[in-house]
């Protein structure tokens, strides 16, 4: 039954029912985690004074001081409390999301009280900077995940996001340098993404190659291709081929000075605003236009779409290529939107995290964006904590986004429902 394709194997399709609903399980987990957090972070923070959180990008300005030990214990217990609320009450979806969010926030705060207060270099955490780093880290993920949404909603699995991002970053830097123009770089990056997408589309749709395997191999191809040209051409002649101009930062007056969120959302370059616009556009297009209705129909039930005269192959080609444009531009953010030059394997797995964000966000543009922000936050947190000199080794902090992804895919999401025909080639007749 096409309608019951779940994220997982049929062998494990056991519905969670009875008393232990997903909400209750999550609630119980948060109760335990919250108590453990209070019991662990509290004593650890014992010998330290205060943790200071500033609302700006720097360590000065408006701030809030929280005493380390009481703070760590209090927020841990608050997390447990939110979990308990989930355990007792939650039946509706909205409460589930709200309470889960609260529990997570309290958990992070409990952890931060200890971490910030015990920093070797500083005991101040600038929340404004944390927010800005979060968005910066999330940007390529948002582009990649949006590309994935377009692709997978039409029924083609896109594991090649990594390759699209990498090719975009590469083409952006190379052609941005050659033409000394950011816009030329941007166009080249989009075309670079389309190049990988075109391979994906033709091989998956026309030649019926297994799409997951194909994605992995295309990533490898992109890695080898960009790496080869980089080593041969760009690395020896940095000034000639790898010294691209960078898009300037535009600040929106007024809005940019909102505490915490201002610098994150209203102070950035083209890519930031493009991402915000794209999320809205893709959402509206997917759910409120003819194009979106047809795209979703093709991804859910291509035969049904075919019987009402929709061109299944054409729809898929178009969407996959469009995904390449978006992901390619997202890749360009890493070069012409940030540092200006390309490095071997610059994306370093970003595309795979974007893929996880796509799944975690349940194939919806808004959901994927929120998931991307979550992953961006864990990356930013790792950076910020290593700057203030956390007692936890840097490597373990860097594991945060990966660990978060595993937990997200394995636990929190439960079984999410992919577009029913995702990954299934369409054969006429």
């Amino acid at each position: 039954m096409a309608t019951l394709t779940v994220y997982g194997s049929p062998g494990t399709a056991v519905p969670t029912q009875g008393f232990w609903t997903r909400a209750r399980k999550a609630g119980l987990a948060f109760v335990v985690i919250g108590v453990v957090a209070a019991a662990v972070f509290g004593p650890l923070a014992k010998r330290h004074g205060h943790a200071r959180f500033t609302f700006t990008e720097t360590i000065t300005g408006a701030h809030l001081d929280i005493p380390a030990q009481p703070g760590a214990i209090a927020f841990g217990l608050l997390c447990a409390l939110a979990g308990a609320a989930l355990l007792v009450t939650a039946r509706t979806a909205r409460l589930l999301t709200l309470l889960t969010g609260l529990a997570l926030i309290f958990l992070v705060l409990s952890f931060l009280c200890w971490q910030v207060a015990s920093g070797h270099n500083s005991t101040v955490l600038p929340l404004g900077q944390l927010a800005q780093s979060t968005v910066k880290a999330a940007l390529p993920l948002v582009f990649g995940a949006l590309g994935g949404v377009l692709c997978e909603r039409s029924g083609v699995i896109n594991v090649a996001i990594e390759g699209q991002l990498l090719t975009g970053a590469f083409a952006g830097a190379l052609f941005g340098t050659i033409f000394s123009s950011t816009w030329a770089g941007l166009i080249a990056a989009a075309l670079g993404g389309v190049f990988i997408s075109a391979l994906l589309a033709v091989l998956a749709i026309r030649y019926l190659v297994d799409q997951v395997v194909l994605g992995v191999v295309l990533n490898l191809f992109a890695l080898g291709f960009t790496g080869f040209v980089f080593t041969q051409l760009m690395a020896p002649h940095q000034d000639k081929y790898n010294f691209a101009p960078v898009f300037p930062t535009w600040q929106i007056p007024g809005l940019a000075s909102i505490p915490i969120l201002g610098p994150a959302l209203f102070q950035g370059n083209l890519f930031l605003y493009l991402a915000i616009v794209l999320v809205i556009v893709v959402h509206v297009a997917l759910f409120h236009t003819k194009w979106g209705l047809r795209t979703r129909a093709v991804g859910e039930h291509p035969t049904a779409a075919d019987t009402v005269g929709i061109k299944v192959y054409w729809t898929r080609y178009r969407n996959v290529l469009l995904a390449g444009v978006i992901a390619g531009i997202g890749g360009a953010y890493l070069t012409i939107g940030d540092v200006g030059n390309f490095n071997n394997n610059q994306t370093n797995g970003t595309g795979f995290i974007a893929l996880a964000a796509l799944i975690f966000g349940r194939w919806s543009p808004v959901g994927a964006t929120l998931a991307a922000l979550l992953f961006g936050f864990s990356t930013a947190l790792a950076q910020v904590l290593s700057v203030i000199g956390s007692p936890i080794p840097q490597e373990f902090l860097s594991m945060l986004p990966y660990a978060a992804t595993i937990v997200a895919v394995a636990g929190l999401v439960g079984r999410v429902r992919a577009p029913a025909a995702d990954g299934k080639p369409y054969l006429k007749g």
Partner: protein, 503 residues
Amino acid sequence: MVEPGEIHALLGENGAGKSTLMNVLYGLLQPDEGEILVDGEPKRFRGPGDAIDAGIGMVHQHFMLVPVFTVAENIMLGAESTRGGLLNRRSARQRVLEVSRQYGLPVDPDATVEDLPVGVQQRVEIVKALVRNVDLLILDEPTAVLTPQETDELLAVMRTLKAAGKSIVFITHKLKEVKAIADRITVVRRGRTVGTATPDASEDSLAAQMVGRTVKLRVDKQEAHPGEPVLTVGGLTVLDERGQVAVDGVDLEVRAGEVLGIAGVQGNGQTELIEAIMGLRPVQDGQIMLHAGRAGTGRDAGGRRAAAREGSLSLVGRRTRDILRAGVGYVPEDRSADGLVMEFSVAENLVLDRYDDPQYASGIALSPSAINRAARDRIAEFDVRTSSHLAPVGTLSGGNQQKVIVAREMSSPLRLLVAAQPTRGVDVGSTEFIHARVVRERDQGTGVLLVSSELDEVVALADRIAVMYRGKVLATLPADAPREQIGLLMAGVTDEPAPEKDT
């Protein structure tokens, strides 16, 4: 050839080429030869879009509806009206309501399709075609998923449409319906037209044309000698994938040496019931007990080997493997999804649930010679038509694939045989063979639990019939109960007030 305002029936066995013919007519498949004439003009349909433009609509056997879309979205798909670039959902809803009122086909435009019962989904399909102003409507096996009462409603709708001047091609293999509604009948067999008939032709002659020889409409069987119960199910409650109650407090008893048939329209909990018995689906509440029953003939159910394990066994919470080893045979309803590994050879499929038995393996080493020897024996015994026992089972015809499953399940002594839709999509010859083997299994003292959505099959094979409706067994009747009574029960009509669906 179909005249305007005519109901033309296309009658043929499963796999006779009816659906293929209509898919060509609808532009889904391309003809290798020949031409299609619409209003006297030859047409070439490169896709369904062309067919729709030519005024042809089709209700497919497997509904062409996107399950996660609403009714209105499904109906507007492909012919969307937009306003300012955005979908105009309001006009789509109005159009749906208009058509549904005009032809008396009530549908809720805002309901999500996957939440609707199949009968309503079919109505949506018909509305979908009518919204596109078709003149010719093709209905491909429309009654396969309907209760007798829903079928009557559909026939009434067809008459309404006919009165409105629409032509209908009605594809089916059910003789009674053809006789009830068709103006003209074309019989097809193996891709060829073998004759045309009028509705006053006798059922026997139509059946003979359809299958090419006289068929036995009844299964030869002796009277059953039911013994002690081999399976008792009490108060069983099971949920479906979406967490809804699918089996709702079912009580059943299968005795050694009898066939208990479960009749009911598909999707009323039969699948979940047998999956729960087989340990494939968790049980919410209730008991399932397997007993070492003794048949009325005095034979032990399951023969000598099984008799050594006296006593009763609760199947709840037990692994499928243990249930199979306890002497339960299982013919799953979807052979390609659940019954066979298509890439595996016939021989491998014949030992799929016994591969680590001492007779086929020592330790972890398989014994290919023993497996192949056993396979050759089974192939001969069960008349499986295959080029070799090493051929992948995917290369066999549907009927022979089914025989492989039946051979596998009947190759060891059984106490209980659970057979779900054992002859679905199977040709007549194999169907007869499988029926005969089921009866033989019964006569050896095995209890048989048969689930089929074909009422004819249940009536022909079963010694007692339990009717399931919305997860409950409404009644258990003797095999000679009047069909009308069974039909009413399948539609949920009992003398008592109909059971409310639990929340």
